[in-house]
Symmetry: C2
Subunit: 257 residues, 2 copies
């Protein structure tokens, strides 16, 4: 099977021109088929404030009322997505920007209002892997904004990490998929204060070991749990790496079953 | 050749829920392959005002400074485009929202700053008809927002009527294209105060006649001139009709060579 990389980049990196340009230079160098998934939360918060809309976060997740939904649709699927697409086009990458509603790529359900009412937030139900494969085989490189739809005409705000993982799973039957999460650290660290302590490989056994010894805890736990879920659903490899290393296949922490 | 309709709908209709829903119900009924081109100017003006950005128009065209470019990108390619796409998806139409940067569909040049500096406004250079055909043949229905790119990483605000006409010309080698402009009148009128005086057919000879007699003047003149340019470039037919008549092939004024 052909290889495919699904690369998730966080908000901060894509929202400042300097870091975005460096990232897209590296992204352009990544060989083979690829899908980019991006966020945009900081811009959404800033533009909400300018529009007099208060941002409410619960456990790091944005509460999305009707007005906030308009803002995130504008910012994620409009400003951030098209800025990335135009930049990639100038680098010779035939990018096509989509959100989950486009070509019906990602269907979601509005999250139940209990126990916490997050408003217009979607939980992914289904990814159309055939359609994504068709776009890829048509020579385009999808750039995915974290907005989905419910098939009933409603747009829904959806976590970008989840989108990346669901997209990776959705195309796993058709491609050998590597799912790459970029962030500000060079990988999963043995010592969180030492950037040179990257753990190069984590399998299920190693993960249990790291959990038991307390090396992996806090926010890294759900990240790794979700990585193993993606692997169980057919993704070949998950990589957690620094944003400056997306074109360096050996860098970061590689997670396999 | 297979038939294709390129339908341009104006700002007001797509910016109010009631009129948008009626329009999209009709659009869903239009048979065969189709491309929708939309505006969004009123929303852009409103959101600009909310963000404290002054809207400046010259001859009905928006002067697009750097901040205004961000707003129109958010509003046209984000809010308006994705609202339409999600609504069409709920009607069983596999819509895919794009702006000119996506898949490199529409390349433009920044308009020269003399005699009037419109800022980040693009004049269309090239439409990638092959890519549009590929999207159509892949079973999707493009919904096009009036933002283009210059291939150097810059987005540019571009007139939606022009986009519709350029898209129609760009696919005219591959399809029998009908270009449909919808607006608030039922067509080109013999008597501008009588909505029952629609001129059903205008060819070049008739056009010269209508010009000489003064029936066609003002804003309708450039519309018809641009219609004849599209016909000369291979578009089969141009229709000027009421927004409520897009699924009625016989309605409106039909313009042919």
């Amino acid at each position: 099977m052909e290889q495919l990389k699904v690369i998730k980049v966080g908000g901060k990196i894509v929202e400042e021109n300097d870091t975005l340009n460096i990232l897209l230079n590296d992204y352009a160098k990544v060989e083979g088929r690829k899908i980019l998934v991006h966020g945009g939360g900081r811009s959404a918060t800033r533009i909400s404030a300018q529009l007099g809309i208060e941002t409410q976060m619960i456990d790091g997740r944005r509460v999305t009322d009707a007005e906030t939904l308009k803002v995130v649709t504008m910012v994620y699927a409009g400003l951030v997505n098209k800025t990335i697409v135009a930049s990639l086009q100038s680098r010779g990458i035939n990018a096509i920007g989509v959100c989950g509603a486009d070509a019906g790529i990602i269907l979601s359900n509005k999250r139940p209002a209990t126990p916490i009412d997050y408003g217009y937030v979607g939980d992914v139900v289904k990814v159309d892997g055939d359609m994504l494969a068709r776009l890829l085989e048509g020579g385009t490189y999808p750039v995915v904004a974290p907005i989905t739809h419910d098939g009933k005409g409603n747009l829904l705000n959806t976590n970008a990490d989840t989108i990346a993982s669901e997209v990776a799973k959705g195309v796993a039957e058709k491609f050998d998929v590597t799912l790459i999460y970029c962030f500000e650290k060079p990988g999963v660290l043995m010592d969180e204060n030492d950037d040179n302590s990257v753990i190069p490989l984590i399998n299920r056994e190693k993960f249990e070991e790291l959990k038991a010894s307390g090396v992996v805890s806090g926010g890294m736990l759900p990240k790794l749990q979700s990585a193993f879920k993606a692997l169980e659903a057919g993704v070949k490899e998950v990589v957690i790496t620094h944003a400056s290393a997306i074109d360096k296949p050996q860098a970061g922490t590689h997670i396999v079953l």
